[in-house]
Symmetry: C2
Subunit: 478 residues, 2 copies
Amino acid sequence: MVDDTIKQIDDLFYPKSIAMVGIPSDPHSPVAELFLNPIFEFDFEGEVYPVNPKGGEIMGMKAYPTLNDIPNTVDYVIATIPAHGATQLMRDCVTKGVKAVQFFTSGFSETGEQQGKSLELEITEIARKGGVRIIGPNCMGLYCPKGKLSYWSEFPKEHGSVAYLCQSGGNSIHLVQMGAPRGIRFSKVASYGNASDLNESDFLDYFAQDPETEIICLYIEGVRQGQRFVDALTNATRKKPVILLKGGVAEAGARAAASHTGALTSSNNVWDALCKKLGIIRVYSLEELSDVLVTFCFMPALKRGNTAIVGVGGGASVLAADDCENNGLAIPQFPKEIRDRLLRFTPQAGNSVKNPIDSQLIIWDPEHFLETIKIISEWDGIDLIIGLLLSTDVYPSWTSYQNMYEIMAKTMLVSHKSSKKPIAMVIQPGIRPKMNRETYAAQQEFVSAGMPVYPTASRAANAIKKHIEYNKWKEVSF
Amino acid sequence: MVDDTIKQIDDLFYPKSIAMVGIPSDPHSPVAELFLNPIFEFDFEGEVYPVNPKGGEIMGMKAYPTLNDIPNTVDYVIATIPAHGATQLMRDCVTKGVKAVQFFTSGFSETGEQQGKSLELEITEIARKGGVRIIGPNCMGLYCPKGKLSYWSEFPKEHGSVAYLCQSGGNSIHLVQMGAPRGIRFSKVASYGNASDLNESDFLDYFAQDPETEIICLYIEGVRQGQRFVDALTNATRKKPVILLKGGVAEAGARAAASHTGALTSSNNVWDALCKKLGIIRVYSLEELSDVLVTFCFMPALKRGNTAIVGVGGGASVLAADDCENNGLAIPQFPKEIRDRLLRFTPQAGNSVKNPIDSQLIIWDPEHFLETIKIISEWDGIDLIIGLLLSTDVYPSWTSYQNMYEIMAKTMLVSHKSSKKPIAMVIQPGIRPKMNRETYAAQQEFVSAGMPVYPTASRAANAIKKHIEYNKWKEVSF
């Protein structure tokens, strides 16, 4: 049974034909664009059949009045019809022999009303009896770049190794978009909403065995089958890192989760204990989730976090050191021998070589900056380097300084090659749009070089610390 | 004596004449641009005398070989010479009858070396005997938009009510730049570095009595006169809110602070106890400092934080509710009577009216969205509203959706007028530069309307909670 489900889910990520039921005949309507644009953007290679009672053509494709008018087999139905049509559609899907239906449609158990709950039960029963699987209702569906399947036009086309199981459509979009410029790429994403049929455990079991997935992250509001989910987590954590963002932990959050996906949430302490026991990396926001993903994707598996901080700016160094130590990364002072070697070419005024290193060499003497990185990275006392690139807004932007930020970014990027230890970059995003463009461009260079990039030292340290804790847990537990 | 110092500091923020000693003759050198450009940018109205051994002209101004060659009186000297010339310059300042010298020059006690420490003592002694005050050494100096005095070309020209005493030049620049698009304006900023003469207590006493200052914020690495500083804080907190960012709290941070400004830091617990006793609002990053300033500048003095959350996006609402509750703001459920009133015009599918309110009316039916705000804001159970505007990256950006973000932003902005309670806005910054430009533009509209804007719900809730705690402390303590 479980193996059947795994095979079924795998098919869904690679459907050969999709019917879009409920696409308005106006191709410029939001729903038409929302669901049809990704088909074109991603060059989906299978068949696509818009279904609309009026028939005709939508975006150059023949539209069919009903599902049963489609002359060929249909693997997968994406439903954007109103809730009151769901029962009939479900019956049509059984007749047509469809493998699965994804309901974008909302108005089910998440309303909290008896009517919506009954409707959800009804379609689920028809589906189970008829051998059709449901994704949702009340969800965005599936993204699988390798299968050229997406529910969002602007998602990356390239695939990666992260699977994301997300109960919220919006939170699925936000994380993928946030992760894109940081180099995070996904094997598969499932936005699964109310989980009336295929639920969190089904998808988790699937991702645990999926050869295309190396890291699993979850946004979960509530769980349909408690014990089964614990079993699925136990299995998944033995095979891959699992990162969890639990939504609806506080009172109002839980109430909102109930209204959002009909989820019954359970106590925060239960989740905490579970995470601790199973080595699940728990995070508390989408931002933190993206930080941790960046770390797992681009940092080696360190088991100690002694850190050297390198950058320009005395006050920024002080705060970065505080941020690291407050987040559990030690910043050991360099021994006298190393400081002496650095002082041979580092002017004392305006610089510091103790750790943090606050060094203007990065601007005025790049060669010696590279030498600095080489020297400190050879010291056994540190495991990694955090490089600081302040926002361009704190550098003068007139004539002769114009390239200062560019020079610093370039020197830091090259220094990566002379370092014996991994470098995690903190690139503060520019505050004003002009500056933001520059810091974004710099970020892209570092990401292309395969480096982890974070917006603040505090977020970098927090994510790196969680990675180290996971690596230590894994060593002890396996 | 104290009153003399206050008068002296006041004069420094409004100097009538400035000599710039150590300006290179090449007007495009970084130091020349750094210090001379603000003179032109801010239309400084007093006299400016560049001093350079070669004489001649710099940027159209006559340059004098030495300070004593200047035919007129000089109020204020900005020194950018190397450290070894500091003693001679200090003697020249005494001869010339200068009121104060600001040393951008570094290479003093912050090096940790005996030579630098002795040099700092030496210039300080000459200054004291000769009746000249020192700002720094190793600092950026003074910003006073009303006095048309600035050390940074790109600082806002408009003045405000926040005074900022900052031991770090870089951290002074970063906060002012970060605060600018959020509407924070300053009465005066002092970057005071090693504090060899004028120190944190002198400036704090000044700001406490300054009629142009309503809120005081401090970035302090270490304190020169411990008991005097406690007295100065006691006095200041009785008059104005005081917000403290203490740099150098952890081990490496403290070491970095010593290398940065020669500061001797003391235990974190001592600072915590002091803040608690005196009602000082303690923050832990420049970002948090700017959040708290935004709140003090743009939120009324609430004493309870029951919050309604309003926006679009189920998952975003769940996380925002968690963020608020985790940061101490309650999100009470609306009573049935209010929910019923909202359900008269809010479709059940895809929306929620319990609190958080997740309502697509903001896009499709702005009139009823305004009605929603009016109805909930009249309920006694809430004290404020947090409005959520997700990043533009999570809205489709094709033809027919193009204006979706604009419509939402506009509706939310107008709703501010139908609300009986203050609205704090969460505007997620766009991830990609194009989107960032749009979110930045939206932010500017809200800031122009006098509204507090934050980048995440978690940062909004944290700052609002600290404000409320201060308001309650103030009520009990005075």
